[in-house]
Symmetry: C2
Subunit: 341 residues, 2 copies
């Protein structure tokens, strides 16, 4: 794929994304929030959540499932909770609108939660926890998705791919950030293997009889597995509960039923926790955050990589080059824009 | 092991534990808090955290590392945080003393955190999150330990076995609870293989050159691995940070250095979060908690087991039988008590 990459300026990538989303009928706020997320991912060479997502974004609007002009409302009446109702629009504007209140509450109390409800979700969680960490707070975010993943010991799907992301503020240029799915692999990865007629590694999925399978087509009909056996399965259940019933929103199974075969971005909730080291540590903050750096040094000092290092390296590399975009994708996006204009 | 089990009454198990701890010099509060935890584990046939731990508990006191009469102090001045200073005593009394304030804060704010500092820690986390869930709240607990575990891609230990536990209140008799180490296996498990001269499964540990090993002795000299590859490693780093520097306490590496070869229970901090569904959900709580039950039903309905089911089954079985104790352990504990009296 790398041979047909073009580099375009960050502003141009953002402009293209915004123009496309506006042409598809999204409000300015939604278009800007989505463009920011997908362009950040593209810049970091995190292509699975990059500009490519705009195609699904537009398709979901066309299918009439998402409200492209939804105006999120905020309920901050519970002292430690910000409830943002996305009103069946995309999640990213809701996140942007609720974030200042989440930070304000966490900065006062030490810890606070933001529940985003009724949102269509397709974006990576790392840009969100990165933003929280850049504001000096610790962030933890999680969402369900659609029920494709079997619980440990089972053979029928119950869980979503249920990502969890964490951000930790650092004195250096970049926060410590991770963001991973609790499924063993991404669903798109299995689909790519199916299309290519290639076997998938054992441990990714089971067939509809509950047997381990290397057959990607059988895997798509069966169930995906969680990472890390029963531990990953337990973690996935926690995400279902905390970012589902606890915040009055759908589990992955309910979200899949709500989709009703449309195959668009899943509609559900998202839970984000923020903890403020300034409140936990007071005047001793600098000393203690320094000890976190000692731990990072112990990891990188032995040649191991921190979770987001690959993205940060790509970001640094592309600062002068621009945003790398696959030529075919760029053509497709431009053609789509032309067809909508 | 099962053939030499004796069943003793719950009160007798608790009496034995309290007498032993009191004879070893622990204050009444510490003795009661510890007895409650280890007897609960023994009753649930969770032997690794059962009465056997009393031996290590007494040994740690004898080595002069722990203060057996430490009186925890509570600082609840930050609105969303309860800080409990265990004063270099065991953790369980500190947990017990801080818990009412944690629940009070979470019930008011919706979410709150409890940081326990300067505690010696040897107990399972599930009794703590189970207690939070029995009070109707969602609980999440985590601690570092001693640095035995290498980060993904590395070969030298940085992380502890870093357990994480979660509790969710249910309408039925038992909450949904999980508690797992983020290491691939327990350190004690590797040590048992070494003593028995048996190979360990690949994926548990690496030798001191960073190579996969099935040799338990080489594993003990090398480093343990996290569960679930880079995802488990990321999670373990999160636990180090949140239950370490964020709460002004030691990382696993610092705790190991503090131990200075004594080989006693690790001294560090613990972070516990509590979230109150009543605040998140208000009058709609029952309806939403019912949806969580639908998810549990989807798991158990296909024959898969919920994380704590084995413990709950044992608990039910032993309600009439009593607490099962290995005869040799019972003899050892009684002999130790006689020697201390």
């Amino acid at each position: 794929m790398s041979q047909d990459l073009q580099y375009i300026r960050l502003e141009d990538a953002k402009r293209l994304a915004i123009d496309l989303l506006r042409a598809a009928g999204l409000s300015e706020g939604h278009a800007e929030a989505i463009a920011k997320s997908v362009v950040s991912a593209q810049r970091d060479e995190c292509y699975s959540h990059g500009l490519w997502r705009l195609l699904g974004c537009v398709a979901t609007v066309r299918k009439g499932k998402v409200d492209p002009k939804a105006v999120p409302t905020i309920d901050a009446s519970a002292p430690g909770i910000v409830k943002v109702d996305a009103k069946f629009g995309y999640s990213l504007l809701a996140f942007r609108e609720g974030l200042p209140e989440l930070i304000a509450k966490a900065s006062h109390l030490g810890i606070a939660a933001m529940a985003i409800n009724h949102c269509y979700h397709f974006s990576a969680l790392w840009p969100e926890v990165e933003e929280i960490a850049e504001a000096g707070l610790v962030g933890l975010a999680m969402t369900p998705s659609h029920s494709w993943v079997a619980p440990a010991g089972g053979k029928k799907p119950v869980f979503g791919t249920n990502p969890i992301a964490f951000g930790w503020p650092r004195v250096g240029p970049h926060p410590f950030v991770f963001d991973f799915a609790t499924s063993a692999a991404a669903r798109g990865e299995i689909e790519l293997h199916r299309r290519a007629g290639k076997p998938i590694p054992l441990g990714w999925a089971i067939d509809s009889d509950g047997k381990d399978t290397a057959d990607a087509a059988k895997a798509m009909e069966g169930a995906m597995l969680t990472f890390g056996g029963h531990k990953g399965s337990a973690l996935s259940a926690m995400i279902e509960l905390m970012a589902g019933p606890l915040i009055a929103d759908m589990t992955s199974a309910e979200s899949m039923a709500f989709d009703d075969g449309a195959g668009v971005a899943p509609c559900h909730g998202e839970l984000i926790l923020a903890l403020d080291p300034k409140v936990f540590l007071g005047g001793a903050m600098e000393e203690h955050m320094r000890r976190a750096e000692d731990m990072f040094d112990a990891i990188t000092g032995q040649g191991a990589r921190l979770p987001s290092q690959r993205r940060y390296d790509a970001r640094a590399r592309n600062e002068s080059l621009g945003v790398p975009v696959q030529t075919t994708l760029l053509d497709e996006l431009r053609a789509l824009l032309a067809s909508l204009a």
